[in-house]
Symmetry: C2
Amino acid sequence: MADQKKFVEEITSRDVDFAKWYTDIVKKAELIEYSSVKGCMVIRPAGYAIWENIQKNLDARFKATGHQNVYMPMFIPEGLLQKEKDHVEGFAPEVAWVTHGGDQKLAERLCVRPTSETLFCEHYANIIHSYRDLPKLYNQWCSVVRWEKTTRPFLRSLEFLWQEGHTAHATEEDAREETIKMLNVYADFCEEALAIPVIKGQKTEKEKFAGAVETYTIESLMHDGKALQSGTTHYFGDGFARAFGIRYSDKDNNLQYVHQTSWGVSTRLIGAIIMVHGDDSGLVLPPVIAPVQVVVIPVAMHKEGVLEKARIVASRLDGLRTVLDDSDNSPGWKFSEHEMKGVPLRIEIGPKDIEKNQAVLVRRDTREKIFVSLENIETEASRLLDKIQSDMLSRAKEMLLSHIYDVADFEELCRQSSEKAGFFRAMWCGDGRCEEKIKEEAGLSSRCIPFEQKQISDKCICCGAPAKKMVYWGKAY
Amino acid sequence: MADQKKFVEEITSRDVDFAKWYTDIVKKAELIEYSSVKGCMVIRPAGYAIWENIQKNLDARFKATGHQNVYMPMFIPEGLLQKEKDHVEGFAPEVAWVTHGGDQKLAERLCVRPTSETLFCEHYANIIHSYRDLPKLYNQWCSVVRWEKTTRPFLRSLEFLWQEGHTAHATEEDAREETIKMLNVYADFCEEALAIPVIKGQKTEKEKFAGAVETYTIESLMHDGKALQSGTTHYFGDGFARAFGIRYSDKDNNLQYVHQTSWGVSTRLIGAIIMVHGDDSGLVLPPVIAPVQVVVIPVAMHKEGVLEKARIVASRLDGLRTVLDDSDNSPGWKFSEHEMKGVPLRIEIGPKDIEKNQAVLVRRDTREKIFVSLENIETEASRLLDKIQSDMLSRAKEMLLSHIYDVADFEELCRQSSEKAGFFRAMWCGDGRCEEKIKEEAGLSSRCIPFEQKQISDKCICCGAPAKKMVYWGKAY
């Protein structure tokens, strides 16, 4: 019991040491455990159940937009990885190489996929022949490996779980439409399921994906004011198609190259949930993806009728993801534990409540207590979960909006970025050297060229040349 | 069009060349495509959708029996793999070794998991402390790699998808109960979802899993009379617990080793579905796991009102997994294509049917045509799918029962096994040398020591010593 008490108390305050707070949460909420494999994590039941809900929700959105799931091999022969020049340059330095199968040295090294463009391209070259075969709208759920030097749970690890969409289209127009459509699917998912608002835009040349013509991104803002790239979609043009020979006969029987896209989100989104919504008592999960939405806790469980009543209440809520905590820990300990784990709604029920035919509903996000008649418990619990979900989004939006700063002067940008964190909006001439200088002197990387532009001034904040675009700059994970 | 026609015709007859027929099906039903990665396959949408339905159905059974999903790293450091002696001897010869991360040679080689006992054990040693932490009932869905020399789609490949359950219990009794419980979950799943009857039993010492005290298996019979090991569960005793130091304090505060199990099924089950139910026209999918349960095909689609009516029928069946094929291929071609893909029920609707307010329902399994009034189409389609599912199981059971042969004499066993395929039931003394001899001279391996025993004689069929058990022998994939 003493051990257990300690368990829920040992968490660093969010505003004292954000990085430590984050690590505390992933451990104490039992999302992750370290393993002896450097940079690789064990995703524990509480963490994996969040990922399962993310998968279920996103997968339904993918299928509703006509996509199909497939599974490609996890290995890529070295020769295949090298087929597209920019792509191999981007990824070869950070892949894991398999050199032996059993006792045998392999004739050709295999890398463990860091991403699967090359495998999809090889497959598409085999199965696409006619315009009738297009579009191909494929997705796969899998794990990928990137040999990162510094790792952090969910945010950056040697191996991570993700989905990667890979599509092939007859025309540039169709492929471009797909690239934007999937960015919107991601953005809607983040807002509607994760209660995380995002900035949608395009990556600069410097920040785009290895092999892409254009990369689009959704950027979200963490509680510490840093940005998190939360999902990306890529328009490839016909570059991969030319490298891999992916052609189809059009209606006039002419051979044409396909136009391609790819797009992905990963378990990094769990990191975003933690850092956007979490507080000093632990995780705060948005009801839509919370593995447990409601926990029912009997108070004075030893008193006659209490546990029985709690069971009835829990079973009446089985349309929601409800658990009854009838363990022999104290109610106070249970309150803390389920707060740590981010359960959106707690229902307390004790002898006095039973007398009054009521229960106490406690919101995880605001800690508000609401006394509800047992008659209306299903309706009230559902209503509150909806309310929690929308309030979480509203607060995250407020947080985002209050951390966007428009700056027109370079000195001012350097000064502000040293004083506060958030998104700095400033004009840019489009030159990579200015981007580089802003990185070096203001410590800010370009997050995206947002779809929603605003004319802050008409000159590049760095060189003073005519500005082409307004850009979001920030410090990022 | 000519190409497409050819597509559905090109399939070897099942009784002419079963192996070729199998390969034809996996290609023509578009389940699999080969890749340039030796021994690895691309699982295409039609194949992956079957796996998704298997996952969904099995996962619900796992959760209903109290299991939780987790995700372990895909890499196992060489030192960790070596911790349990029998286990490493069994698996080390067939693992893929990662020796380099990017340009750096690794200090310790990592193998790509062939199975994850060692990772789960390391994790359990970290998180299990008290009797309160038990049982741990974990499962993971992932891919594993075994460096096989000869590979066949779904049946044996270098990489395959599977689930692996790993559990830790306070007592031997609990662990033993889990081992049998999960074998029953597998057997029920095969019967109820895949319409495949199985023989349940224990593996011999020779055939058991590397590191297990006992291995249990479900064995099914393919159309060619060969057996397929379709799922296994393992009782580990405290062997792994001792090797990895997984101990807990019991209620009296004494340190005890846990008792463990593991269990798994894989995409191999898709191979079983093909080989149990398929015919010369292609795949025959059991309705419970068929990605498409009903295909609606308009006949004389150009005639007024036909396509419209077909759309109405299809939309009325949206409680089932229904698709409307309104492509511009001929009805005949569509019939063949959806037969090839194994769609359990076809609904044809043409001008004459519309006149009579009816549709033609065609069963994939029996090809029976049933004329159904449009009034009752939902009820009839559902009823027929249920009937198809149960008839498929009945036929598979008949097939199994008619291929079980009781033999009491060794010469007779050799003669019969050279003439016909199936399960041969014969008595065994328990000596591995007899098992070896039966393998060498009759070409039969021990499939299992079935739970349902029958006294065929009182002597070992091989050496004549007193028999201990009746054993199923067979040729196996």
